[in-house]
């Protein structure tokens, strides 16, 4: 399967390439907001790239550019060396918010992708069954999404995305709503599934540990308008187990380095967005276990951001 994924990629062209991309949005008040400025990003075929950055810095926007849901205002977006002109069949996208179809049972939800792409019903269902087994949801085929736990719903979304066997997998904080234990399980699942088909991944997260544990490369974005601040190669051995890799000495080192880079941006963003609710930003002790102190600053804008981003997706004005 890995061979199949690789042979379709054209030569040495990177799977994803953003060249000095700028994205501007029109704001409701009539102004113009620059979400991304001169962003450069390259992801090789089969590479797992994590993107971290303060809230509102343009991480989701970056993904929507790669997916073809949005167009860059300036600069170039390339997939396998070709400019993105619309939604590309090779792209899979797991959204920041729940996007499984609430009226479809789990099995139909997972089968939706192949069916949309013209695969026969029987075949699509068979494939969906297979993928449900892989994400550990056998026996839940007939449930409706609202009858599942949050973690199970995320796994449905994962299966729904992976069943199309995307060469490019975009994931927008896919596991941020999960509790720590469930998150680790699903992260491990993701890694083993990724090993199967080896797509190029862009994985957006606020969780630095998650980024380091999963990725080959961590990209730190600046406070909005976002651009790449630093890129860190993660030279940790694979295959990894998420809960073990955290104790690798190199992990702690990398954590410190990346956090140092990220911290200033997070504090800047915090000062900007949380001016009215003063709560001093704590710089966490590097490497002191799960550090998510910067998250509260980030939480509130994140929730309404999702709908806002996609407003322009659904209806280009």
């Amino acid at each position: 399967m890995a061979a199949q994924a690789n042979q379709t990629t054209t030569g040495t062209a990177p799977a994803i390439e953003l060249r000095t991309v700028t994205k501007r949005f029109r704001t409701p008040s009539g102004g113009v907001y620059t979400a991304l400025r001169d962003l450069d990003l390259t992801v090789a075929p089969g590479e797992f790239c994590a993107v971290v950055g303060p809230t509102g810095c343009g991480k989701s926007t970056t993904l929507s550019l790669v997916s073809g849901l949005e167009r860059a205002s300036r600069g170039e977006t390339l997939i396998h060396g070709e400019p993105v002109t619309g939604i590309d069949r090779r792209v899979g996208f797991m959204f920041q918010t729940d996007a499984v179809f609430p009226w479809k049972p789990v099995l139909d939800n997972v089968a939706a992708g192949p069916q949309f792409r013209g695969v026969g019903k029987r075949e699509a269902i068979e494939k969906a069954r297979d993928w449900l087994r892989r994400v550990g949801l056998s026996g839940f085929e007939d449930r409706l999404p609202h009858q599942l736990s949050g973690g199970m719903r995320k796994r449905v979304a994962l299966a729904q995305t992976l069943i199309n066997e995307p060469e490019i997998l975009l994931m927008d904080e896919p596991f941020s709503a999960l509790d720590v234990q469930t998150r680790q399980i699903v992260q491990d699942e993701l890694l083993s599934l990724w090993e199967l088909t080896r797509p190029a991944v862009v994985f957006v997260t606020h969780d630095l540990e998650e980024a380091i544990a999963l990725a080959d490369k961590v990209v730190v974005l600046t406070v909005g308008p976002g651009t790449v601040k630093d890129t860190f190669a993660i030279d940790l051995p694979r295959p990894r187990k998420v809960q073990d890799i955290r104790f690798h000495p190199r992990f702690v080192e990398l954590y410190e380095q990346i956090w140092t880079s990220l911290r200033d941006e997070v504090q800047l963003a915090y000062a900007r967005t949380a001016g009215e609710s003063p709560r001093p930003e704590q710089a966490p002790e590097p490497g002191s276990g799960p550090v998510r102190d910067h998250e509260p600053a980030v939480n509130e804008p994140r929730t309404n951001e999702a709908t806002r981003t996609n407003d322009t997706i659904g209806q280009p004005r």
Partner: protein, 292 residues
């Protein structure tokens, strides 16, 4: 509820069962009480009315009487009306209503979704829709009689217009409210615009559309009846109109009762349909039994 119950140790289990039984019998008693109060109310009103008209307190010629209404119904159902059997009249009205309901709903849903999806179209059509909606419908009734004559088509047309607007606005709003994430997800998964519309927008907007159907059926019935009152050869509205012409108060009431029964039956069917298509929703409108 049932799942947690099975996890409770057996002693508590008995307690829980006891509690459930007590709650259930309490609920049954309450329901009985309410029902008997309702029956008492009906008896009081109808009985009072009957008594008053028998005593001459209420002029039974002007205000009718329950026994008179009953007689009228009996006459209609056994001997028929001046425009054929009562079943024929009911049939005519129902045909107009159902036809108007179906056509109006279909048009409302199709146009509502189309305008909801295609913004340019919505902008072009907005003033015309608003203007159309502002016309008092009864005026249209007279116009349709001129256009279509006294036959059923005019009534169907009136029902269509009434139904259309109530369904249209809901379908339009429902389409606008569809979760953008779901649409984006479907497109990424490979859905064409048509598939997005039929498999994401329609099911999402169904909540809104179905909600409008209750009112819409009522409007269809109003359209048919008003159309018949304005001029027709048969139908319940025409019967009422005739009774009014003869100063037959009982006839008017009898017509109203038949219409009410029809409306209730339709309401029942629509509620069933609603439950069917919205089965996937976590909170049913009448979630009474969901917990048990």
């Amino acid at each position: 509820m049932t799942t947690t119950d099975t996890l409770i140790p057996s002693l508590d289990d008995q307690d829980a069962a006891e509690l459930m039984r007590a709650a259930r019998s309490g609920r049954r008693r309450r329901r009985l009480l309410i029902l008997s109060a309702q029956i008492a109310l009906v008896v009081l009103v109808i009985g009072g009315w009957q008594l008053a008209s028998a005593q001459g307190v209420l002029d039974s010629f002007t205000y009718g009487s329950p026994s008179g209404v009953l007689d009228q119904l009996k006459t209609w159902f056994t001997q028929g009306t001046s425009t054929g059997s009562i079943w024929h009249n009911i049939g005519v009205t129902m045909e107009e209503t159902v036809l108007g309901f179906l056509i109006g709903t279909l048009a409302g849903v199709v146009l509502g979704i189309a305008l909801g999806r295609i913004h340019a179209l919505a902008e072009v059509m907005a003033p015309f829709i608003k203007a159309g909606n502002s016309i008092p419908r009864v005026v249209l009734g007279s116009m349709f009689i001129i256009w279509f004559g006294l036959g059923p088509s005019g009534k169907v047309a009136l029902a269509v217009v009434l139904v259309f607007f109530s369904v249209f606005f809901n379908a339009f709003q429902g389409t606008r409210e569809v979760d953008r994430n779901l649409i984006a997800n479907a497109r990424i998964l490979g859905a064409s615009e048509w598939r997005v519309t039929s498999q994401v927008v329609l099911p999402s907007a169904m909540t809104w559309i179905v909600a409008s159907l209750h009112a819409a059926f009522g409007f269809a019935l109003i359209g048919a009846i008003v159309g018949e009152v304005l001029g027709a050869q048969a139908g319940l509205g025409q019967l009422i109109q005739q009774a009014q012409g003869n100063f037959n108060a009982n006839g008017v009431y009898a017509g109203i009762i038949i219409i009410a029964v029809l409306a209730l039956a339709a309401e029942f069917l629509i509620t069933r349909f609603e439950k069917r298509v919205l089965r996937w929703r976590p909170t049913q409108l009448s979630g009474d039994t969901a917990g048990l």
